[in-house]
Symmetry: C2
Amino acid sequence: MNLRLYNARILPFDTADARIIAGELWVKGDRIALVGDPNGAEPPAFDREIDCRGNLLLPGFKNAHTHSAMTFLRSFADDKPLHQWLHEDCFPMEAHLTERDVYDLTQLAVLEYVSGGITAAFDMYKFVEKIAECAIDCGFRIVLCGAINDYGGTKQSLRAEHDAVNGKHPLVSHKLGFHAEYTTSEALLRDVADLAHEYREPVFTHISETAAEVEDCISRTGKSPVAYLDSLDLFRYGGGGFHLVFPMQGDIEIMKARNLYVCTNAGSNVKLSSGIAPIETYYEAGVPVAIGTDGAASNNCLDFFREMFLVSGLQKLTVGAAAADAIKVLHSACSTGAKMMGLDDCDCLAVGKQADLIMLDLHMPNMQPLNNIAKNVVYSGSKANVALTMVAGKILYERGTYAIGVDPEAVYARANEIIARIRKAEGR
Amino acid sequence: MNLRLYNARILPFDTADARIIAGELWVKGDRIALVGDPNGAEPPAFDREIDCRGNLLLPGFKNAHTHSAMTFLRSFADDKPLHQWLHEDCFPMEAHLTERDVYDLTQLAVLEYVSGGITAAFDMYKFVEKIAECAIDCGFRIVLCGAINDYGGTKQSLRAEHDAVNGKHPLVSHKLGFHAEYTTSEALLRDVADLAHEYREPVFTHISETAAEVEDCISRTGKSPVAYLDSLDLFRYGGGGFHLVFPMQGDIEIMKARNLYVCTNAGSNVKLSSGIAPIETYYEAGVPVAIGTDGAASNNCLDFFREMFLVSGLQKLTVGAAAADAIKVLHSACSTGAKMMGLDDCDCLAVGKQADLIMLDLHMPNMQPLNNIAKNVVYSGSKANVALTMVAGKILYERGTYAIGVDPEAVYARANEIIARIRKAEGR
């Protein structure tokens, strides 16, 4: 399919400022063929031409940490702190999930992603090959993250899923990873490090999400989680940490030395009463910051507008009103997330890049007047503004209509069936 | 108009729990004629019957503190703390506003309110009669709040606007009020108290929004703002405070003795780096809590979904994960706000009450599965879920279409004209 999006405002993010240009954007197959002024360029034969009516095109949001299939626990496991929430609600309920359940619950997440302008997810959950299959079937871009730990997974299984997913299809890839320092033995961590060295690949994991986790790691190992994991040489080829709410002295130096990314999950950290990550400090130190929703069991929605306001607002609250301004946060959401996930072709709107983009409707009261469009998006935007979501040149969502190959009502019905079945099995 | 909304889920909030019933809701003129099971009741002749498809009807959100016409400063005055924001951006820009500007900018806010499920606003701004006229023309419900202070307004002007608005039209009313303790001389405060005693009316104002304001009041008067204002006998007939981020020792006892309401404005307090109001403490003490967006110059959107998540989440962050649960917060949003504003007929869905209600679309991915619908609304909802907004029996918004008597595009154009004119006048 070749598409022409014309009469647009375009925020390309080919630089870190939020420069907005007027013009059009051409899509040829899965890639961007033109951004801005056609300037007499020869147009390909377009299958469709869309009048953007002055609305805003920008790179899609990159959800750099999520557990997509946890949608079944939305509004089931609330109002509890992390440890209690995990052990009382998540673990026992998740034990009942089948591969088919995970496929179907990931579909529900994908519906939510595309309706909210998210074009890629960095997904950590079990049955990664099933999740990859779901992503391919939906036309959605998913990077799987290894999640092995003492309760499941081995060096062999991590290698097997890494090999099985990578190269399978352009929409899916796999990164080495494990659940967390506090759920993974040193022997298994050394196995992950071995794989990382063999593949020359980065490693990703939950790090320093709660104060208790950090204290516990220090008392066991004498080191912060960042320092402990680094001492096992896990980050020789980079990687990143999800959450990183509580960096200790020296951690930021390690993160910079190892080219680690932070993915912040403000909504989840708030709702689980974990804390506020020092995002402004990361920005100032030059640590790249991506944004994630975490799973729907904790957050409870997969909504980047809420996340972006929280990332900015919580820094303003704790550091000062000038902290974490809209432009920095929007760049994190659209661009840095892509780089963290290894999606170097999805970080901006430029010729030759993947056509992973969204259109935000500015003809809505929350976007008016147009004093500063990028600030409007972060400080005032909502998923109601998402008019179109495109992944790899294919429109997956357009003004309430989905094109991911499944009837949304069937997905909702399945999600309700799954949770009903598991509640019955658990007697709750 | 008589309307039948059938095949609905209904969260009536006629009690403080979030009981949801199945059934239908009849509207006769501006009032509710039936809720739940018709049980053989004789239906009136309906002008329209709407199949709700299992979607949720609930009382509309009551925006209990806002400055509607500040929409012109959206994304213009950002990333600054309150004092600097007010004196550098708000005051000089606002000085240029005409009565016509305020009418037009209030229209823009009303578009945003109804698209986000807000059915009434407690509006503090200049030119109150013009705002009342706008509300009546739009069919929207506005309670005006007096805002006199040392820079404008007298006992006479406050009396005049109170008398002019009250009784003018069922959609508008006026409450006595002043801007804030720190902008209003003791002589003028005593004038407001005199009026309150004469009319036997409550009084509303900004109170204890920032730590600096509280410290300054204590150093000048030896009392906290709450105690100081109470010492002037302003609250003999009740009233309430907007913000109340920093109550001092003894303040809550005064608030309870005087039947004061708190209206919290979490988004604004976050963005201006003011602080987190102790909402869970208010809930526990039995102080009634309403919710407001504040103006678009600080927040920057007028979005109750964002507000509700912030009100809940910030308490979870500071008090614990169980604090300020979804049901309490939703009750504050739908019901307590109405009571604070004196809208006793708009607090719940029951026979004889005003038909001020909204329909939320549950057939959307962020509302599935239906583990707990009220929690879905607060923890996962967005204005994209608002399918219908009705005020006084009239549908003002329905799935992207507005019926407030004006073309939204004309409102957007006027808002852009106004800010362009004022920027030019101010040379910025």
